[in-house]
Symmetry: C2
Subunit: 342 residues, 2 copies
Amino acid sequence: MARQKNGSRARTATLTDVARLAGVSVATASKALNGREHVRVETRRRVIDAAEQLSFSPNSLARGLLAGRTGTVGLLTSDLEGRFSIPILMGAEDAFGAGQVNVFLCDARDDTIRERHHVQALLNRRVDGLIVVGSRTDPRPSLGRDLPVPVVYAYAPSDDPEDLSIICDNVAAGRQAIEHLIAAGRTRIAHISGDPTYAAARDRAEGVRAALADAGLELVGDVQYGSWSEGWGRAAAGLLLDRHADIDAIFCGSDQVARGVMDAARERGRRIPEDVAVMGFDNWEVLAADARPALSSVDMNLEEVGRAAARALFEALDGSPRSGVESLSCRLVIRGSTVSLT
Amino acid sequence: MARQKNGSRARTATLTDVARLAGVSVATASKALNGREHVRVETRRRVIDAAEQLSFSPNSLARGLLAGRTGTVGLLTSDLEGRFSIPILMGAEDAFGAGQVNVFLCDARDDTIRERHHVQALLNRRVDGLIVVGSRTDPRPSLGRDLPVPVVYAYAPSDDPEDLSIICDNVAAGRQAIEHLIAAGRTRIAHISGDPTYAAARDRAEGVRAALADAGLELVGDVQYGSWSEGWGRAAAGLLLDRHADIDAIFCGSDQVARGVMDAARERGRRIPEDVAVMGFDNWEVLAADARPALSSVDMNLEEVGRAAARALFEALDGSPRSGVESLSCRLVIRGSTVSLT
DNA sequence: AATCCTTCCGAAAAGGTTTTCGGACATACA
DNA sequence: TGTATGTCCGAAAACCTTTTCGGAAGGATT
């Protein structure tokens, strides 16, 4: 039982109280408040007034117990600090928030035990569904097929094709970036990526190679794998620019890498974008928008991923579950680092 | 009613089912599963086996309905994208996560209507308490005193002193930063802050002035207010360094500002930290750790703020509510931009 | 005057769990 | 044998809401 500031019991009013005050039965009170028919307008009025007077708030627990639906979903994330989970979370919260759905947030910290623990707790709370957000795009173990509620995986796909996963199309993203650079007149293009253990890095490189091949071009140097950091970008760009003086564009694995690359290029007297175009990835505003020049980047539309996951969950709840991996396309955000914006 | 993948009804087992299978009454089953006394060990064994066999999961709704406590709290944030909410959210999730408490996350988008809407929804769900996380340190309107559950405000204090608020001590933070610079032998110190409409900016400046006065020093130039951006840092540092050639330290309002400042200083041939020490604020890893040299900064211990808020909420639930504004101190993170770490 | 229809309302069940209280049974003791 | 003392278990109430079904009242129709 909740307490008020002063420590006294705060008996929140129940429907019974409202009914008594309005001089009707609980059944009538319920119907009146929920807009059901077969209630005289005047009676309804009296009930609503009574409810207001008692600041009645219907107990969702009782309602959920009866209805079998709680209007809650669990959102299981693997790393909250990661900057990918948040936009997805926002998108989902957004898609739900309009309605009467509330979100249980759980951070599993990439720990299977913790994750199972949280899933169990969420099921005990009778959530209507689950969204599982991964921290990287590599497939992750499925929660299993025998859960009593629908599950949608976002960003990181499930390794079970029977599950539904909503992800970003990283291959296409790599292709898009390269096509933009080619359209901007670049032909000597390098790719400084990130950690090669990430599927995202490998997928983008695949798109890069495909786009270059289609244009009859070749990558300058191999794909440079390292880490996702600014320091790596500086180091790799330094080596690459010194070895291949004719490079006129560098596609980077992340905006951090791109920042390092821009620094290294500037130190060597290369003008951006005139001499070298630099393209980032992630479209992380703080890094991209305020760079000199502002950094062109690839936006993964993560909020849209979150929204799509929420919508898919709704549809599964309404009886039309899908399965398989659905890719959403990324979006180029062109700023001054790849084309002169005069 | 939840559906399974195949579309058939997924009747989750209830305590009644377990009791029937174990050949006992529901009362006994309940006692057995909850470790209550007055149950023979052999009977308990039978019940537990039955529960396992049916993969029984107790319905938290029913339990909460009866107990009057749901084991849930609402976390109301004003801006999810802001990088301040997230660590606080993580801290709170952390403090709760260990136990059986789950968190409802709501993003109010700094919109009062939305916020009230969410509060009502959370109360309907009978959360045991609320944590309200602000997006900036300026006081925010209280949710009111007549809520049936305890509320703790985090980061942004409530404007009602009867409420409990957990915040960062920005005045002390400004002082700490300056004291560090002085200890590092600096005497010609400037302060490039951020948006002056933010209480955080003004509070830190106050600490700065106090610390300088204590040391018998004066700020070089006035406090430079602008925005929290890298671009502002570059511009302000450029002007300041040109006007006051003897500046040997700059304390910045954010790590972004500091990055801009470092760029401007380097362009003018000033070595960091030998000629000019640069200190940031926020300790935003991506910006600070990977800068050249790595950026010393002030960490607001936001996760600790989140944890403290969660703890305070627990204590209020246990009947010891506090009130007023409680400040947590910030923490200096010294890297290479203020002292040579050789 | 009897029947039917309409309109409004209330009693009761259902949902799943926990807790209280009393009953059944067995053992120990007088 | 009867009483006190335990030990274990079950019936039922409680939590709060929604829905179903039947009943009551009143008017309209035969």
